[in-house]
Point group: C2
Chain length 219, copies 2
DNA sequence: CTAGCATTTGTACGACTGTCCAAATGAGGC
DNA sequence: GCCTCATTTGGACAGTCGTACAAATGCTAG
């Protein structure tokens, strides 16, 4: 009687299938009929549960963004406890991207799958998606920027924002095209290897954040 | 009689309109009728000139990739003449991304518009587009990787590939979402300012490339 | 067992898609 | 002036899209 959000298994199946297909092929390219077939649900059921295709997308975001951002907050506060600024910087960078890259997230699906979905959908410039993303991720991103600023007090805030932006871009690009690294390196590097990607991106990002500010030149 | 590719102004108009729309909204989201209307052409004319929607996309790539890659090659060989490895590294990075970011390219449209198109279309995982991109840009990218390797002989090639990949990701992300930097910084940084983006990304990338290799840890 | 309600089903709708084609148009060589 | 061929036009085509809805179904409380 008063259990408003009882989770039918069909609802979950639809969410799973949609998430998988969206993350692989993008939002616009996937039809509701594909989702219906992949999830074993009837076409009408999707409309019944989620109202519209946009509603389905929003439900996917709502399922993940809560736990993911909670995890990032935890890791951030944990990282901020580190005294040495150098170690702290690395820990913050790691906390920033680990929940996106890690394969198995606490609650439901994989964090990597959801992150790839975000990257792909964001690139499609879908208006609804952009709104959801901004609402959901801007606050936590600002918290990370503040934490980075504390590690690098001499750096203008604009520089930190730029470099954070580049970090997000590197993560997105890696999630969208993992095979690109593998091909360009002739197999020497493995773009699909999550741990390798994490190690590489953290090292590069930390070095980038430690670069001098943009006011004056070298020697 | 034997002038196979006479350039009617209509053909150019269609290419211009399509490029503008694709770069703004992506490939799948733009219909041929939109392109027809925006260019003042008839729907049938597009099929007549380019055969199909994929053919139109391929024509856009063919119009730009030649001049762009020629420019990149020139800048690369120019940069490789620099003796000092530190200065050379920065020049190579600049040569790598400048033709993508610079507003006015030699031949036809803006280089930034085409680069944004590449980034958006690539994110859509359109098969034809991925094929074209790989064919066209892999060789020159490998040349850049070789040049970077020469500046950083102590670094494993896999690390260089990873960091080049991150650099491409940062550029893509900036082209797709220029406003994101502006918003996150509260207006302090300007994502749409090409020169600012170039300066910031070069400084960050150079520092990232100079980071130590991944075999052993710090203190 | 039955009434009531949440869910699932099947289908239909109008709008939009990329592609194709016959007819109309127009400009340049003879 | 006419013939030729590239280009443009307008419309038709088969297909897919997201959405809506009445009817069928199944589960659960009483």
């Amino acid at each position: 009687m008063l259990m408003p959000q009882r989770q039918t298994s069909m609802r979950e199946a639809i969410l799973d299938a949609a998430e998988e297909l969206f993350s692989k092929n993008g939002f616009r390219a996937v039809s509701m009929r594909e989702i219906a077939q992949a999830s074993g649900a009837n076409l009408g059921s999707i409309s019944y549960h989620f109202g519209s295709k946009d509603g389905l997308l929003r439900a996917i975001y709502e399922r993940h963004s809560g736990p993911m951002n909670r995890r990032r907050s935890e890791l951030l506060t944990e990282a901020q406890r580190i005294r040495d600024p150098d170690d702290r910087l690395e820990a913050i960078v790691r906390a920033f991207i680990l929940p996106s890259l890690s394969q198995s997230e606490g609650s439901v699906g994989g964090g990597a799958r959801f992150a790839r979905l975000r990257a792909v959908v964001m690139a499609e410039r879908h208006e609804e998606a952009q709104k959801i993303i901004a609402e959901t991720f801007n606050p936590i991103n600002l918290a990370f920027i503040d934490a980075l600023q504390a590690c690098l007090p001499q750096l203008p805030r604009a520089d930190i924002v730029w470099r954070t932006h580049f970090l997000l871009g590197a993560v997105s690009y890696t999630l969208i095209n993992p095979w690109r690294v593998t091909r360009l390196s002739g197999g020497e590097a493995d773009g699909e290897n999550t741990e390798e990607a994490l190690t590489q991106i953290v090292r590069a990002a930390v070095a980038a954040f430690r670069a001098p500010a943009g006011s004056d030149a070298a020697p």
